[in-house]
Amino acid sequence: MAAPLTSTARRPGTGETRTRAVVPRKRRKLRTHLATTPWLFLLPALVITGLFIVYPFLNTAVLSFTDAKLIVGGKFTGFANFARMIDDPLFWTALRNCGLYVLGCVPPLVILPLLIAVLVHTTLPGITFFRAAFYTPVVASVVVAGLIWSWMLDTKGLVNSILQWLHLVTAPVPFLSDETLILISAMLLTIWKGLGYYMIVYLAALSTVPRELYEAAEIDGAGAVRRFLSVTVPHLRSTMVLVGAISAVSAFRVFTELYVLTGSNNSGGPGGADISMVMLIRSVGTGLDGQLGYGSALSLVLFVLTLGLLLVVLRLNRREDRI
Protein backbone atom coordinates (compact mmCIF):
# COMPACT_ATOMS: atom_id res chain seq x y z
CA MET A 1 0.00 0.00 0.00
CA ALA A 2 2.87 2.32 0.77
CA ALA A 3 4.39 2.47 -2.64
CA PRO A 4 1.32 3.67 -4.53
CA LEU A 5 0.68 6.24 -1.89
CA THR A 6 4.07 7.77 -2.18
CA SER A 7 3.95 7.70 -5.93
CA THR A 8 0.66 9.56 -6.03
CA ALA A 9 1.95 11.96 -3.46
CA ARG A 10 5.01 12.62 -5.50
CA ARG A 11 3.32 12.99 -8.86
CA PRO A 12 1.81 16.45 -8.37
CA GLY A 13 5.29 17.75 -7.79
CA THR A 14 6.79 16.32 -10.98
CA GLY A 15 7.20 18.29 -14.11
CA GLU A 16 4.49 16.37 -15.93
CA THR A 17 1.56 17.87 -14.12
CA ARG A 18 3.10 21.23 -13.82
CA THR A 19 3.63 21.52 -17.54
CA ARG A 20 -0.01 20.77 -18.01
CA ALA A 21 -0.99 23.42 -15.53
CA VAL A 22 1.36 26.09 -16.71
CA VAL A 23 0.96 25.73 -20.45
CA PRO A 24 -2.73 25.06 -20.63
CA ARG A 25 -4.09 25.09 -24.14
CA LYS A 26 -1.53 26.35 -26.58
CA ARG A 27 0.67 23.30 -26.89
CA ARG A 28 -2.16 20.82 -27.05
CA LYS A 29 -3.41 19.75 -30.39
CA LEU A 30 -6.56 21.32 -31.64
CA ARG A 31 -9.37 19.45 -29.94
CA THR A 32 -11.37 17.70 -32.64
CA HIS A 33 -14.32 16.63 -30.51
CA LEU A 34 -15.60 16.08 -26.99
CA ALA A 35 -14.86 12.74 -25.40
CA THR A 36 -18.52 11.77 -25.47
CA THR A 37 -19.17 12.76 -29.07
CA PRO A 38 -18.02 9.52 -30.75
CA TRP A 39 -20.27 7.52 -28.47
CA LEU A 40 -23.24 9.70 -29.32
CA PHE A 41 -22.52 9.03 -32.99
CA LEU A 42 -22.33 5.31 -32.27
CA LEU A 43 -25.34 5.20 -29.96
CA PRO A 44 -28.03 4.02 -32.42
CA ALA A 45 -25.80 1.35 -33.95
CA LEU A 46 -24.57 0.05 -30.60
CA VAL A 47 -28.03 0.05 -29.02
CA ILE A 48 -29.53 -1.92 -31.90
CA THR A 49 -26.60 -4.34 -32.09
CA GLY A 50 -26.52 -4.84 -28.34
CA LEU A 51 -30.24 -5.16 -27.85
CA PHE A 52 -31.17 -7.19 -30.92
CA ILE A 53 -28.05 -9.25 -31.61
CA VAL A 54 -25.74 -9.56 -28.61
CA TYR A 55 -28.42 -9.91 -25.96
CA PRO A 56 -30.59 -12.39 -27.92
CA PHE A 57 -27.48 -14.39 -28.71
CA LEU A 58 -26.52 -14.68 -25.05
CA ASN A 59 -30.13 -15.38 -24.15
CA THR A 60 -30.25 -18.19 -26.73
CA ALA A 61 -27.15 -19.75 -25.23
CA VAL A 62 -28.64 -19.58 -21.71
CA LEU A 63 -32.12 -20.79 -22.70
CA SER A 64 -30.72 -23.81 -24.50
CA PHE A 65 -29.71 -25.29 -21.15
CA THR A 66 -33.19 -24.85 -19.65
CA ASP A 67 -36.63 -26.35 -20.17
CA ALA A 68 -38.22 -22.91 -20.65
CA LYS A 69 -41.57 -22.73 -22.39
CA LEU A 70 -43.50 -19.64 -23.31
CA ILE A 71 -45.95 -20.04 -20.44
CA VAL A 72 -43.66 -21.33 -17.69
CA GLY A 73 -40.24 -20.03 -16.81
CA GLY A 74 -37.52 -22.63 -17.27
CA LYS A 75 -35.13 -24.20 -14.89
CA PHE A 76 -31.63 -25.41 -15.62
CA THR A 77 -31.63 -28.86 -17.15
CA GLY A 78 -28.04 -29.24 -18.30
CA PHE A 79 -27.64 -30.99 -21.61
CA ALA A 80 -31.15 -32.46 -21.62
CA ASN A 81 -32.17 -30.50 -24.72
CA PHE A 82 -29.16 -31.75 -26.63
CA ALA A 83 -29.83 -35.30 -25.54
CA ARG A 84 -33.40 -34.90 -26.76
CA MET A 85 -32.11 -33.64 -30.08
CA ILE A 86 -30.12 -36.81 -30.66
CA ASP A 87 -33.32 -38.84 -30.24
CA ASP A 88 -35.40 -36.50 -32.39
CA PRO A 89 -35.81 -37.92 -35.91
CA LEU A 90 -36.96 -34.51 -37.20
CA PHE A 91 -33.65 -32.99 -36.15
CA TRP A 92 -31.72 -35.56 -38.17
CA THR A 93 -34.03 -35.09 -41.17
CA ALA A 94 -33.55 -31.32 -40.97
CA LEU A 95 -29.79 -31.69 -40.65
CA ARG A 96 -29.63 -34.08 -43.60
CA ASN A 97 -31.77 -31.77 -45.75
CA CYS A 98 -29.64 -28.75 -44.91
CA GLY A 99 -26.48 -30.70 -45.71
CA LEU A 100 -27.95 -31.85 -49.03
CA TYR A 101 -29.06 -28.31 -49.71
CA VAL A 102 -25.51 -27.02 -49.31
CA LEU A 103 -24.11 -29.79 -51.51
CA GLY A 104 -26.77 -29.22 -54.15
CA CYS A 105 -26.62 -25.43 -54.28
CA VAL A 106 -23.01 -24.45 -53.76
CA PRO A 107 -21.28 -26.01 -56.82
CA PRO A 108 -23.84 -24.61 -59.31
CA LEU A 109 -23.76 -21.22 -57.56
CA VAL A 110 -19.99 -21.08 -57.75
CA ILE A 111 -19.74 -22.17 -61.40
CA LEU A 112 -22.84 -21.01 -63.31
CA PRO A 113 -22.69 -17.30 -62.35
CA LEU A 114 -19.02 -17.28 -63.32
CA LEU A 115 -19.87 -18.63 -66.78
CA ILE A 116 -22.66 -16.06 -67.11
CA ALA A 117 -20.33 -13.28 -65.97
CA VAL A 118 -17.81 -14.28 -68.64
CA LEU A 119 -20.66 -14.29 -71.14
CA VAL A 120 -21.71 -10.71 -70.34
CA HIS A 121 -18.19 -9.38 -69.73
CA THR A 122 -17.96 -7.90 -73.19
CA THR A 123 -18.97 -4.78 -75.08
CA LEU A 124 -21.47 -6.20 -77.53
CA PRO A 125 -24.53 -4.11 -78.31
CA GLY A 126 -27.36 -4.71 -75.84
CA ILE A 127 -25.12 -6.26 -73.22
CA THR A 128 -26.15 -3.86 -70.41
CA PHE A 129 -29.74 -4.84 -71.08
CA PHE A 130 -28.90 -8.53 -70.70
CA ARG A 131 -26.87 -7.86 -67.57
CA ALA A 132 -29.82 -6.05 -65.96
CA ALA A 133 -32.29 -8.71 -67.09
CA PHE A 134 -30.19 -11.49 -65.53
CA TYR A 135 -30.29 -9.64 -62.23
CA THR A 136 -34.11 -9.39 -62.09
CA PRO A 137 -34.69 -12.56 -60.01
CA VAL A 138 -32.47 -11.13 -57.26
CA VAL A 139 -34.83 -8.20 -56.81
CA ALA A 140 -37.88 -10.38 -56.20
CA SER A 141 -38.48 -11.72 -52.71
CA VAL A 142 -38.07 -15.44 -52.15
CA VAL A 143 -41.81 -15.66 -51.48
CA VAL A 144 -42.63 -14.16 -54.87
CA ALA A 145 -40.05 -16.37 -56.57
CA GLY A 146 -41.42 -19.37 -54.72
CA LEU A 147 -45.01 -18.65 -55.77
CA ILE A 148 -43.95 -18.10 -59.38
CA TRP A 149 -42.11 -21.41 -59.44
CA SER A 150 -44.78 -23.34 -57.61
CA TRP A 151 -47.12 -22.39 -60.46
CA MET A 152 -44.47 -23.22 -63.08
CA LEU A 153 -43.72 -26.59 -61.44
CA ASP A 154 -47.37 -27.54 -60.88
CA THR A 155 -48.39 -30.88 -62.39
CA LYS A 156 -50.39 -28.84 -64.90
CA GLY A 157 -47.85 -26.01 -65.00
CA LEU A 158 -45.55 -24.67 -67.69
CA VAL A 159 -42.54 -26.88 -67.00
CA ASN A 160 -44.56 -30.08 -67.21
CA SER A 161 -46.31 -28.83 -70.35
CA ILE A 162 -42.99 -28.19 -72.04
CA LEU A 163 -41.53 -31.50 -70.91
CA GLN A 164 -44.55 -33.35 -72.26
CA TRP A 165 -44.60 -31.32 -75.43
CA LEU A 166 -40.98 -32.31 -76.06
CA HIS A 167 -41.93 -35.91 -75.24
CA LEU A 168 -39.30 -36.01 -72.52
CA VAL A 169 -41.81 -37.39 -70.04
CA THR A 170 -45.07 -39.24 -70.51
CA ALA A 171 -46.74 -38.40 -67.21
CA PRO A 172 -46.47 -35.06 -65.34
CA VAL A 173 -43.50 -34.91 -62.98
CA PRO A 174 -44.69 -34.47 -59.35
CA PHE A 175 -42.19 -31.70 -58.58
CA LEU A 176 -44.13 -30.46 -55.56
CA SER A 177 -45.45 -33.64 -53.99
CA ASP A 178 -42.53 -36.06 -54.08
CA GLU A 179 -40.24 -35.51 -51.12
CA THR A 180 -37.00 -35.74 -53.07
CA LEU A 181 -38.28 -33.64 -55.96
CA ILE A 182 -39.46 -30.92 -53.56
CA LEU A 183 -35.93 -30.63 -52.23
CA ILE A 184 -34.49 -30.48 -55.75
CA SER A 185 -37.11 -27.93 -56.86
CA ALA A 186 -36.27 -25.72 -53.88
CA MET A 187 -32.58 -25.96 -54.76
CA LEU A 188 -33.35 -24.93 -58.34
CA LEU A 189 -35.25 -21.96 -56.95
CA THR A 190 -32.32 -20.93 -54.75
CA ILE A 191 -29.91 -21.29 -57.68
CA TRP A 192 -32.22 -19.37 -60.04
CA LYS A 193 -32.47 -16.51 -57.57
CA GLY A 194 -28.73 -16.45 -56.87
CA LEU A 195 -27.36 -16.46 -60.44
CA GLY A 196 -27.69 -12.71 -61.00
CA TYR A 197 -26.30 -11.75 -57.62
CA TYR A 198 -23.11 -13.77 -57.92
CA MET A 199 -22.81 -12.75 -61.58
CA ILE A 200 -22.34 -9.15 -60.40
CA VAL A 201 -19.82 -10.27 -57.78
CA TYR A 202 -17.84 -12.07 -60.48
CA LEU A 203 -18.13 -9.17 -62.93
CA ALA A 204 -16.45 -6.87 -60.39
CA ALA A 205 -13.63 -9.38 -60.04
CA LEU A 206 -13.33 -10.03 -63.79
CA SER A 207 -12.54 -6.39 -64.47
CA THR A 208 -9.37 -6.79 -62.38
CA VAL A 209 -7.90 -9.52 -64.60
CA PRO A 210 -5.14 -7.91 -66.69
CA ARG A 211 -5.89 -7.99 -70.40
CA GLU A 212 -2.28 -8.79 -71.21
CA LEU A 213 -2.71 -12.23 -69.73
CA TYR A 214 -5.45 -13.06 -72.22
CA GLU A 215 -3.44 -11.66 -75.08
CA ALA A 216 -0.38 -13.65 -74.09
CA ALA A 217 -2.46 -16.79 -73.79
CA GLU A 218 -3.95 -16.21 -77.19
CA ILE A 219 -0.55 -15.73 -78.78
CA ASP A 220 0.41 -19.05 -77.23
CA GLY A 221 -2.51 -20.52 -79.12
CA ALA A 222 -4.90 -21.03 -76.24
CA GLY A 223 -8.56 -21.32 -77.25
CA ALA A 224 -11.46 -19.75 -75.37
CA VAL A 225 -11.90 -22.72 -73.04
CA ARG A 226 -8.20 -22.92 -72.32
CA ARG A 227 -8.02 -19.18 -71.63
CA PHE A 228 -10.95 -19.50 -69.25
CA LEU A 229 -9.35 -22.39 -67.37
CA SER A 230 -5.80 -21.11 -67.20
CA VAL A 231 -6.27 -17.36 -66.91
CA THR A 232 -9.76 -16.54 -65.61
CA VAL A 233 -10.24 -19.31 -63.07
CA PRO A 234 -6.85 -18.99 -61.30
CA HIS A 235 -7.29 -15.25 -61.13
CA LEU A 236 -10.77 -15.44 -59.64
CA ARG A 237 -10.08 -18.24 -57.20
CA SER A 238 -10.45 -16.13 -54.07
CA THR A 239 -13.73 -14.69 -55.40
CA MET A 240 -14.94 -18.23 -56.07
CA VAL A 241 -14.14 -19.19 -52.49
CA LEU A 242 -15.98 -16.11 -51.27
CA VAL A 243 -19.03 -17.02 -53.35
CA GLY A 244 -18.77 -20.59 -52.07
CA ALA A 245 -18.68 -19.39 -48.47
CA ILE A 246 -21.59 -16.97 -48.80
CA SER A 247 -23.77 -19.41 -50.71
CA ALA A 248 -22.95 -22.32 -48.37
CA VAL A 249 -23.88 -20.38 -45.26
CA SER A 250 -27.11 -19.09 -46.76
CA ALA A 251 -28.04 -22.51 -48.20
CA PHE A 252 -27.64 -24.06 -44.77
CA ARG A 253 -30.12 -21.53 -43.40
CA VAL A 254 -32.76 -22.26 -46.07
CA PHE A 255 -36.31 -21.56 -44.97
CA THR A 256 -38.59 -19.69 -47.35
CA GLU A 257 -37.96 -21.78 -50.48
CA LEU A 258 -38.99 -25.01 -48.76
CA TYR A 259 -41.75 -23.31 -46.78
CA VAL A 260 -43.42 -21.91 -49.89
CA LEU A 261 -42.89 -24.93 -52.15
CA THR A 262 -44.23 -27.40 -49.59
CA GLY A 263 -47.44 -25.39 -49.34
CA SER A 264 -47.72 -22.86 -46.60
CA ASN A 265 -50.11 -24.79 -44.38
CA ASN A 266 -47.72 -27.52 -43.43
CA SER A 267 -44.12 -27.44 -42.42
CA GLY A 268 -41.89 -29.42 -44.67
CA GLY A 269 -43.60 -31.64 -47.19
CA PRO A 270 -44.99 -35.15 -46.74
CA GLY A 271 -44.54 -36.17 -43.12
CA GLY A 272 -42.05 -33.38 -42.55
CA ALA A 273 -39.54 -35.09 -44.85
CA ASP A 274 -38.47 -31.76 -46.36
CA ILE A 275 -38.06 -29.81 -43.14
CA SER A 276 -34.98 -27.63 -42.69
CA MET A 277 -33.22 -26.55 -39.51
CA VAL A 278 -34.74 -23.08 -39.57
CA MET A 279 -38.20 -24.52 -40.25
CA LEU A 280 -37.76 -26.83 -37.28
CA ILE A 281 -36.62 -23.94 -35.06
CA ARG A 282 -39.62 -21.90 -36.10
CA SER A 283 -42.14 -24.64 -35.53
CA VAL A 284 -40.64 -25.72 -32.20
CA GLY A 285 -39.89 -22.33 -30.70
CA THR A 286 -42.15 -19.55 -31.93
CA GLY A 287 -45.77 -20.65 -31.55
CA LEU A 288 -47.96 -20.02 -28.54
CA ASP A 289 -46.86 -23.39 -27.22
CA GLY A 290 -43.25 -22.42 -27.95
CA GLN A 291 -40.64 -24.67 -26.40
CA LEU A 292 -38.05 -21.97 -25.91
CA GLY A 293 -35.46 -24.22 -24.34
CA TYR A 294 -35.41 -26.90 -27.01
CA GLY A 295 -35.79 -24.31 -29.79
CA SER A 296 -32.83 -22.36 -28.43
CA ALA A 297 -30.72 -25.51 -28.27
CA LEU A 298 -31.51 -26.14 -31.95
CA SER A 299 -30.63 -22.50 -32.68
CA LEU A 300 -27.29 -22.86 -30.94
CA VAL A 301 -26.53 -25.93 -33.04
CA LEU A 302 -27.48 -23.98 -36.17
CA PHE A 303 -25.11 -21.19 -35.15
CA VAL A 304 -22.19 -23.52 -34.44
CA LEU A 305 -22.69 -25.46 -37.68
CA THR A 306 -22.96 -22.26 -39.76
CA LEU A 307 -19.76 -20.92 -38.26
CA GLY A 308 -18.10 -24.30 -38.72
CA LEU A 309 -19.17 -24.40 -42.36
CA LEU A 310 -17.69 -20.94 -42.91
CA LEU A 311 -14.40 -21.96 -41.31
CA VAL A 312 -14.22 -25.16 -43.38
CA VAL A 313 -14.70 -23.28 -46.65
CA LEU A 314 -12.12 -20.66 -45.70
CA ARG A 315 -9.72 -23.38 -44.55
CA LEU A 316 -10.10 -25.19 -47.86
CA ASN A 317 -9.03 -21.98 -49.52
CA ARG A 318 -5.92 -21.67 -47.41
CA ARG A 319 -4.87 -25.25 -48.04
CA GLU A 320 -5.11 -24.74 -51.78
CA ASP A 321 -2.91 -21.71 -51.37
CA ARG A 322 -0.06 -23.84 -50.12
CA ILE A 323 -0.15 -26.32 -52.95
Partner: protein, 281 residues
Protein backbone atom coordinates in the same frame (compact mmCIF):
# COMPACT_ATOMS: atom_id res chain seq x y z
CA UNK B 1 -15.93 -2.05 -68.70
CA UNK B 2 -13.56 -2.55 -71.56
CA UNK B 3 -12.81 -6.10 -72.33
CA UNK B 4 -10.52 -8.12 -74.30
CA UNK B 5 -13.02 -9.74 -76.59
CA UNK B 6 -13.95 -6.62 -78.48
CA UNK B 7 -11.67 -7.00 -81.46
CA UNK B 8 -11.95 -10.35 -83.02
CA UNK B 9 -15.38 -11.82 -83.14
CA UNK B 10 -15.86 -14.40 -85.75
CA UNK B 11 -19.44 -14.50 -86.90
CA UNK B 12 -20.09 -17.95 -85.48
CA UNK B 13 -18.79 -17.11 -82.02
CA UNK B 14 -20.92 -13.98 -82.06
CA UNK B 15 -24.02 -15.98 -82.93
CA UNK B 16 -23.19 -18.52 -80.24
CA UNK B 17 -22.81 -15.77 -77.65
CA UNK B 18 -26.18 -14.24 -78.48
CA UNK B 19 -27.86 -17.64 -78.45
CA UNK B 20 -26.46 -18.29 -74.98
CA UNK B 21 -27.51 -14.81 -73.85
CA UNK B 22 -31.04 -15.46 -75.05
CA UNK B 23 -31.18 -18.80 -73.24
CA UNK B 24 -30.09 -17.24 -69.94
CA UNK B 25 -32.51 -14.38 -70.63
CA UNK B 26 -35.39 -16.81 -71.05
CA UNK B 27 -34.48 -18.58 -67.82
CA UNK B 28 -34.16 -15.40 -65.74
CA UNK B 29 -37.01 -13.32 -67.09
CA UNK B 30 -39.32 -15.99 -68.54
CA UNK B 31 -40.93 -16.97 -65.23
CA UNK B 32 -41.90 -13.35 -64.53
CA UNK B 33 -43.40 -12.98 -68.00
CA UNK B 34 -45.34 -16.22 -67.57
CA UNK B 35 -46.66 -15.03 -64.21
CA UNK B 36 -47.68 -11.69 -65.73
CA UNK B 37 -49.38 -13.49 -68.58
CA UNK B 38 -51.27 -15.77 -66.17
CA UNK B 39 -52.41 -12.77 -64.14
CA UNK B 40 -53.88 -11.16 -67.27
CA UNK B 41 -55.83 -14.20 -68.46
CA UNK B 42 -59.57 -14.04 -67.97
CA UNK B 43 -61.52 -16.69 -66.08
CA UNK B 44 -62.90 -17.88 -69.40
CA UNK B 45 -59.47 -18.65 -70.78
CA UNK B 46 -57.81 -22.02 -70.17
CA UNK B 47 -54.56 -21.35 -68.28
CA UNK B 48 -53.63 -25.03 -68.55
CA UNK B 49 -53.89 -25.02 -72.33
CA UNK B 50 -51.62 -27.37 -74.17
CA UNK B 51 -49.38 -26.32 -75.81
CA UNK B 52 -49.19 -23.34 -73.44
CA UNK B 53 -50.05 -19.93 -74.86
CA UNK B 54 -47.92 -17.05 -73.72
CA UNK B 55 -50.18 -14.20 -74.77
CA UNK B 56 -53.59 -13.85 -73.12
CA UNK B 57 -56.38 -13.95 -75.73
CA UNK B 58 -58.34 -11.20 -74.06
CA UNK B 59 -56.08 -9.46 -71.54
CA UNK B 60 -58.00 -8.31 -68.46
CA UNK B 61 -57.21 -6.62 -65.15
CA UNK B 62 -60.07 -8.55 -63.58
CA UNK B 63 -57.75 -10.74 -61.48
CA UNK B 64 -56.17 -7.67 -59.90
CA UNK B 65 -59.59 -6.48 -58.84
CA UNK B 66 -60.49 -9.94 -57.54
CA UNK B 67 -57.31 -10.26 -55.50
CA UNK B 68 -57.97 -6.91 -53.84
CA UNK B 69 -61.46 -8.17 -53.02
CA UNK B 70 -60.33 -11.33 -51.24
CA UNK B 71 -57.31 -9.89 -49.40
CA UNK B 72 -56.43 -6.25 -48.65
CA UNK B 73 -53.46 -6.49 -50.98
CA UNK B 74 -52.95 -2.75 -51.30
CA UNK B 75 -53.15 -2.45 -47.51
CA UNK B 76 -50.37 -5.06 -47.31
CA UNK B 77 -48.40 -3.06 -49.87
CA UNK B 78 -48.86 0.07 -47.78
CA UNK B 79 -47.64 -1.78 -44.67
CA UNK B 80 -44.57 -2.94 -46.59
CA UNK B 81 -43.99 0.58 -47.84
CA UNK B 82 -44.27 2.08 -44.33
CA UNK B 83 -41.99 -0.53 -42.78
CA UNK B 84 -39.44 -0.27 -45.59
CA UNK B 85 -39.40 3.53 -45.37
CA UNK B 86 -38.84 3.45 -41.62
CA UNK B 87 -35.99 1.05 -42.12
CA UNK B 88 -34.45 3.26 -44.81
CA UNK B 89 -34.45 6.30 -42.53
CA UNK B 90 -33.14 4.38 -39.53
CA UNK B 91 -30.38 2.68 -41.51
CA UNK B 92 -29.24 5.82 -43.30
CA UNK B 93 -29.08 7.87 -40.10
CA UNK B 94 -27.74 5.16 -37.79
CA UNK B 95 -25.19 3.71 -40.20
CA UNK B 96 -23.93 7.08 -41.40
CA UNK B 97 -23.40 8.31 -37.84
CA UNK B 98 -21.66 5.14 -36.71
CA UNK B 99 -19.62 4.93 -39.90
CA UNK B 100 -18.46 8.52 -39.48
CA UNK B 101 -17.36 7.98 -35.89
CA UNK B 102 -15.51 4.79 -36.78
CA UNK B 103 -13.77 6.34 -39.76
CA UNK B 104 -13.11 9.97 -38.83
CA UNK B 105 -13.02 10.36 -35.05
CA UNK B 106 -10.17 9.09 -32.87
CA UNK B 107 -11.18 7.83 -29.47
CA UNK B 108 -10.51 5.07 -26.98
CA UNK B 109 -12.56 1.98 -27.65
CA UNK B 110 -12.91 2.57 -31.37
CA UNK B 111 -11.50 -0.82 -32.29
CA UNK B 112 -13.73 -2.49 -29.74
CA UNK B 113 -16.84 -0.77 -31.14
CA UNK B 114 -15.89 -1.84 -34.65
CA UNK B 115 -15.28 -5.39 -33.47
CA UNK B 116 -18.68 -5.53 -31.76
CA UNK B 117 -20.41 -4.47 -34.96
CA UNK B 118 -18.44 -6.88 -37.17
CA UNK B 119 -19.15 -9.74 -34.74
CA UNK B 120 -22.83 -9.00 -35.24
CA UNK B 121 -22.39 -10.03 -38.88
CA UNK B 122 -21.32 -13.52 -37.88
CA UNK B 123 -24.54 -14.33 -36.03
CA UNK B 124 -27.18 -15.65 -38.44
CA UNK B 125 -30.48 -13.96 -37.58
CA UNK B 126 -32.26 -17.32 -37.81
CA UNK B 127 -30.16 -18.58 -34.91
CA UNK B 128 -31.43 -15.85 -32.57
CA UNK B 129 -34.98 -15.82 -33.92
CA UNK B 130 -36.60 -17.14 -30.75
CA UNK B 131 -34.83 -14.76 -28.40
CA UNK B 132 -35.44 -11.80 -30.68
CA UNK B 133 -39.11 -12.68 -30.71
CA UNK B 134 -39.18 -12.91 -26.90
CA UNK B 135 -37.52 -9.51 -26.67
CA UNK B 136 -39.90 -7.89 -29.14
CA UNK B 137 -42.82 -9.42 -27.22
CA UNK B 138 -41.56 -8.09 -23.90
CA UNK B 139 -41.22 -4.64 -25.48
CA UNK B 140 -44.85 -5.03 -26.60
CA UNK B 141 -43.78 -4.47 -30.18
CA UNK B 142 -44.95 -7.81 -31.54
CA UNK B 143 -47.63 -7.43 -34.18
CA UNK B 144 -46.35 -3.94 -35.08
CA UNK B 145 -44.39 -2.66 -38.05
CA UNK B 146 -41.83 -1.13 -35.69
CA UNK B 147 -41.21 -4.61 -34.36
CA UNK B 148 -40.67 -5.79 -37.92
CA UNK B 149 -37.91 -3.29 -38.67
CA UNK B 150 -36.23 -2.78 -35.30
CA UNK B 151 -33.77 -5.73 -35.33
CA UNK B 152 -32.43 -4.57 -38.70
CA UNK B 153 -32.73 -0.86 -38.01
CA UNK B 154 -28.96 -0.29 -38.16
CA UNK B 155 -27.52 -3.14 -40.19
CA UNK B 156 -23.91 -4.01 -39.41
CA UNK B 157 -23.06 -4.31 -43.09
CA UNK B 158 -24.42 -0.82 -43.69
CA UNK B 159 -22.23 0.56 -40.92
CA UNK B 160 -19.20 -1.03 -42.58
CA UNK B 161 -20.18 0.34 -45.99
CA UNK B 162 -20.52 3.83 -44.54
CA UNK B 163 -17.24 3.51 -42.66
CA UNK B 164 -15.44 2.59 -45.87
CA UNK B 165 -17.04 5.50 -47.68
CA UNK B 166 -15.99 7.96 -44.97
CA UNK B 167 -12.45 6.55 -44.96
CA UNK B 168 -12.22 7.39 -48.63
CA UNK B 169 -12.30 11.18 -48.67
CA UNK B 170 -9.27 13.42 -48.03
CA UNK B 171 -8.46 14.73 -44.56
CA UNK B 172 -7.47 18.20 -45.74
CA UNK B 173 -11.01 19.46 -46.26
CA UNK B 174 -12.04 18.34 -42.82
CA UNK B 175 -8.95 19.85 -41.23
CA UNK B 176 -9.75 23.20 -42.80
CA UNK B 177 -13.23 23.07 -41.28
CA UNK B 178 -11.71 22.07 -37.95
CA UNK B 179 -9.48 25.15 -37.95
CA UNK B 180 -12.52 27.24 -38.75
CA UNK B 181 -14.00 25.94 -35.53
CA UNK B 182 -16.55 23.43 -36.85
CA UNK B 183 -17.40 20.78 -34.29
CA UNK B 184 -17.80 17.08 -35.07
CA UNK B 185 -21.50 17.34 -35.82
CA UNK B 186 -21.06 20.27 -38.16
CA UNK B 187 -18.24 18.48 -39.98
CA UNK B 188 -20.41 15.37 -40.22
CA UNK B 189 -23.39 17.20 -41.71
CA UNK B 190 -21.60 19.72 -43.93
CA UNK B 191 -18.56 17.82 -45.15
CA UNK B 192 -19.01 14.14 -44.37
CA UNK B 193 -22.53 13.46 -45.56
CA UNK B 194 -22.37 15.36 -48.87
CA UNK B 195 -19.27 13.42 -49.91
CA UNK B 196 -20.79 9.96 -49.39
CA UNK B 197 -24.16 10.49 -51.08
CA UNK B 198 -23.66 7.52 -53.39
CA UNK B 199 -23.09 5.09 -50.54
CA UNK B 200 -26.09 6.47 -48.67
CA UNK B 201 -28.18 5.72 -51.75
CA UNK B 202 -26.85 2.16 -51.76
CA UNK B 203 -27.65 1.74 -48.06
CA UNK B 204 -31.14 3.17 -48.57
CA UNK B 205 -31.83 0.87 -51.49
CA UNK B 206 -30.72 -2.28 -49.73
CA UNK B 207 -32.53 -1.35 -46.52
CA UNK B 208 -35.70 -0.88 -48.56
CA UNK B 209 -35.32 -4.12 -50.46
CA UNK B 210 -34.39 -5.99 -47.27
CA UNK B 211 -37.67 -5.14 -45.55
CA UNK B 212 -39.82 -5.37 -48.69
CA UNK B 213 -38.56 -8.90 -49.41
CA UNK B 214 -38.15 -10.19 -45.85
CA UNK B 215 -40.39 -13.08 -44.89
CA UNK B 216 -39.44 -15.21 -41.87
CA UNK B 217 -39.19 -12.36 -39.36
CA UNK B 218 -42.47 -10.59 -40.24
CA UNK B 219 -44.09 -14.04 -40.37
CA UNK B 220 -43.29 -14.71 -36.72
CA UNK B 221 -43.76 -11.13 -35.47
CA UNK B 222 -47.06 -10.24 -37.14
CA UNK B 223 -50.19 -12.11 -36.07
CA UNK B 224 -53.00 -9.78 -37.09
CA UNK B 225 -53.71 -9.86 -40.86
CA UNK B 226 -54.33 -6.10 -40.72
CA UNK B 227 -50.62 -5.60 -40.10
CA UNK B 228 -49.29 -8.10 -42.64
CA UNK B 229 -46.59 -7.02 -45.01
CA UNK B 230 -46.82 -8.11 -48.65
CA UNK B 231 -44.73 -11.27 -48.36
CA UNK B 232 -46.71 -12.57 -45.38
CA UNK B 233 -49.94 -11.52 -47.08
CA UNK B 234 -48.97 -13.38 -50.25
CA UNK B 235 -48.23 -16.49 -48.25
CA UNK B 236 -51.69 -16.17 -46.69
CA UNK B 237 -53.22 -15.70 -50.16
CA UNK B 238 -51.40 -18.78 -51.42
CA UNK B 239 -52.50 -20.81 -48.41
CA UNK B 240 -56.14 -19.87 -48.86
CA UNK B 241 -56.57 -19.65 -52.62
CA UNK B 242 -53.82 -21.98 -53.85
CA UNK B 243 -56.06 -23.40 -56.56
CA UNK B 244 -56.78 -20.02 -58.11
CA UNK B 245 -53.54 -19.50 -60.02
CA UNK B 246 -54.68 -16.27 -61.70
CA UNK B 247 -55.36 -14.71 -58.31
CA UNK B 248 -51.98 -15.70 -56.84
CA UNK B 249 -50.29 -14.50 -60.03
CA UNK B 250 -51.92 -11.09 -59.76
CA UNK B 251 -50.82 -10.84 -56.11
CA UNK B 252 -47.21 -11.71 -56.90
CA UNK B 253 -47.08 -9.17 -59.73
CA UNK B 254 -48.35 -6.46 -57.36
CA UNK B 255 -45.58 -7.41 -54.92
CA UNK B 256 -42.73 -7.57 -57.39
CA UNK B 257 -43.57 -4.78 -59.85
CA UNK B 258 -42.50 -1.85 -57.61
CA UNK B 259 -39.12 -3.42 -56.98
CA UNK B 260 -38.51 -4.20 -60.64
CA UNK B 261 -39.39 -0.59 -61.42
CA UNK B 262 -37.02 0.65 -58.73
CA UNK B 263 -34.32 -1.60 -60.13
CA UNK B 264 -34.78 -0.37 -63.68
CA UNK B 265 -34.42 3.23 -62.49
CA UNK B 266 -31.58 2.75 -60.00
CA UNK B 267 -29.71 -0.15 -61.60
CA UNK B 268 -26.31 1.44 -61.04
CA UNK B 269 -26.73 1.56 -57.26
CA UNK B 270 -27.96 -2.03 -57.08
CA UNK B 271 -24.82 -3.29 -58.81
CA UNK B 272 -22.58 -1.08 -56.73
CA UNK B 273 -24.16 -2.35 -53.55
CA UNK B 274 -23.57 -5.98 -54.52
CA UNK B 275 -19.94 -5.28 -55.38
CA UNK B 276 -19.16 -3.48 -52.16
CA UNK B 277 -21.33 -5.62 -49.93
CA UNK B 278 -19.89 -8.90 -51.13
CA UNK B 279 -16.28 -7.82 -50.89
CA UNK B 280 -16.63 -6.39 -47.41
CA UNK B 281 -19.16 -8.87 -46.09
Amino acid sequence: MTTYSRRRHSRSSLVLRYVLLLIVFAISVGPFVWQLSTSLKSLGEDIYSYPPSLLPHQPTLDNYKRVSDVIPVFGFALNSLIAASMSVVANCVGAAMAGYALARLRFRGRKLALLAIVAGLLVPLEAILISQLLLVRSLHLNNTLVGVILPGAVGALNVLLMRNAFLGFPHEVEEAALIDGANAWQRFFRIGLPSVKGTIAVVALFAFMGVWDDFLWPLVVLSDPGNYTLTVGLDYLHGTFAQDERLVAAGTIIAVAPLILLFVILQRFFFRGVGEGAVKG
